[in-house]
């Protein structure tokens, strides 16, 4: 399970970085990139499969959040006057 999950973890990591880079705001973009990197780095040695499962779930939800917020920020900034 853990071995198969490694490629999934890497794919989630890459997707999150890609989506984080799409934030129009400089501060949010840098924070998201940095936080994603640091979170994955901090958890790189987690062995327990349940913990890995839970962290991956959180990761997917955060990814959805980043996608939602990136979209809404773009569409909100257009009405800036």
């Amino acid at each position: 399970m853990a071995a198969a999950a490694r490629s999934q973890v890497m794919s989630l990591y890459r997707t999150m970085l890609r989506e984080s880079a799409k934030f129009p705001s400089y501060n949010y973009r840098n924070y998201a990139l940095r936080r994603v990197r640091d979170a994955f780095k901090a958890n790189r040695n987690v062995e327990d499969p349940k913990a890995v499962e839970r962290l991956m779930e959180e990761g997917w939800q955060t990814l959805a959040l980043i996608q939602r917020q990136g979209e809404s920020e773009t569409s909100q900034q257009t009405s800036l006057n």
Partner: protein, 459 residues
């Protein structure tokens, strides 16, 4: 040419009709036909943002004590309650009310139980730390006024606390404004000596918003508990940034502000201890919401936002604290190593690292702020910035008049990057050098003249 003017007419018409979605429809006729409608809107959106940024780049934000940007996670938690789940949480009869109420109660518990170590029934949602401070000070003082007519506070408190105390004085209370030492810290023996038998309340803020000094709240709580006096602390700048425990620190009342911890503006909370019970006379009367202490509909989206901000703050406290300390050290080291005669106001050890107040001798603060126009900074707090007087907090810590006038507050927060800090430090160094070149006082001090010995009035 007819084609050209027609095209222009179309664009103007679309703009004036106010609908942005129609622009792609117009532009799409002439290029990018292959994109779908949402893609076109996004492309145009990004082009408009880039154009906006090219025309008017915005300053770097380094004023986190004034307010903080909302964390995207907080906004994400709030949006459903702004759009879909819009019920009044006090409506008992239908699902809109129930879902709203359950969100509000989760925020109360999520925010409370996890962050400050309190019971959810002890948290009252308010419109901000100013309202919480008013409620706490006026409410407690007025409730116990039959037997207790003395209130103690410090000279470095926030304006809302000082103003509430002034109102109490006009109602016949006795208020002691304790002075602070040069480090900004309160003298505990002086506090103990000032407590009388008829003291009802002591109010000391946890982290000062201007100089970042962290008061010895644990010891103060100990003193107040031993003397049977209620202890209120304005923790607006401290909540979510340093670990707080209301039971260890023996706090009876605590003010929390939403927009200082990456939450929405317009919401705050007041912690009111139940054991031993603290009684308050409410300021806002009405339908008895929030245990009768603060009537009025609780704004569900804002409460949810505050709850989300608090739970995020709890998870990120360690990470943020390390990062903010690192950035603050970087800024202070850079600035102080390149420029002589810079003084950091406030105790160097007992402080929150993200609030740095530096005084640059021989340079006027306002002119330095204007020179650093592409960094958003402040000198003195936002509430007192309209007046020309130097900040009362700096005066209370005994800073000289001229140093008080030349102080700048740098605020560092969760979203600050290393590049922003480096840029700010370099710009600051450059501008201080430039302003000092122009300053006659600097010339005189370089020649070795002691400025304090000069008699300025010569006629």
């Amino acid at each position: 040419m007819e084609f050209g003017s027609g095209f222009k007419y179309c664009i103007i018409h679309q703009f004036s009709s106010g609908s942005l979605e129609s622009i792609p429809a117009v532009l799409g006729q002439f290029w990018n036909r292959q994109l779908t409608r949402p893609q076109r809107i996004r492309t145009v959106g990004r082009k408009l943002i880039k154009k906006h940024e090219q025309d008017e780049p915005r300053p770097l934000y380094m004023d986190f004590q004034a307010t903080t940007p909302m964390d995207p996670r907080v906004l994400d938690a709030m949006l459903p309650y702004q759009v879909n789940y819009y019920g009044n949480p006090h409506s008992r009869t239908h699902a809109y009310g129930w879902e709203s109420e359950s969100a509000m109660e989760t925020a109360r518990k999520q925010q409370v139980a996890d962050l400050i170590g309190a019971d959810p029934r002890e948290i009252i949602f308010t419109s901000g730390a100013t309202e919480s401070n008013n409620m706490a000070i006026k409410g407690v003082a007025r409730f116990y006024k039959a037997k207790k007519r003395h209130v103690i506070t410090t000279q470095t408190e926030h304006k809302c606390v000082l103003d509430s105390c002034r109102i109490l004085e006009s109602e016949g209370f006795d208020v002691t404004y304790l002075p602070v030492q040069n480090s900004g810290l309160l003298d505990l023996e002086l506090l103990e000596a000032s407590i009388r038998t008829d003291t009802s309340l002591v109010s000391v803020m946890t982290v000062n918003n201007e100089i970042g000094v962290k008061q010895p709240i644990k010891e103060i709580g100990q003193i107040c508990r031993s003397k049977g006096v209620f202890f209120h602390t304005d923790a607006a700048q401290a909540v979510g940034k340093i670990p707080i425990s209301i039971s260890d620190w023996k706090i009876d009342l605590m003010s929390i502000s939403g927009h200082k911890i990456y939450g929405p503006k317009g919401v705050g909370a007041l912690y009111v201890r139940r054991r031993p019970r603290v009684r308050l006379e409410p300021i806002q009367n009405g339908g008895g919401q929030e245990r009768g202490l603060r009537s009025g509909t609780v704004p569900t989206p804002l409460a949810v936002g505050l709850g989300a901000a608090c739970s995020i703050a709890q998870e990120e406290m360690e990470y943020d604290h390390q990062r903010v300390s690192m950035l603050a050290n970087r800024l202070v080291q850079k600035v102080m190593s390149e420029i002589p005669d810079v003084i950091m106001n406030g105790d160097p050890e007992q402080r929150y690292p993200g609030c740095i107040n530096l005084s640059f001798a021989y340079v006027e603060g306002e002119s330095l702020l204007m020179a650093l126009k592409d960094v958003a900074l402040s000198s003195g707090s936002a509430c007192t910035s309209a007046s020309l007087e130097p900040s009362y907090v700096l005066r209370a810590i005994g800073a000289d008049e001229d140093l008080a006038h030349s102080s700048i507050r740098f605020g560092i927060g969760r979203f600050t990057t290393e590049e922003e800090v480096d840029y700010t430090a370099e710009k600051c160094i450059e501008q201080v050098h430039r302003l000092r070149e122009m300053s006659p006082l600097w010339e005189m001090s370089q020649e070795g003249i002691d400025l304090k010995s000069i008699n300025w009035t010569q006629h």
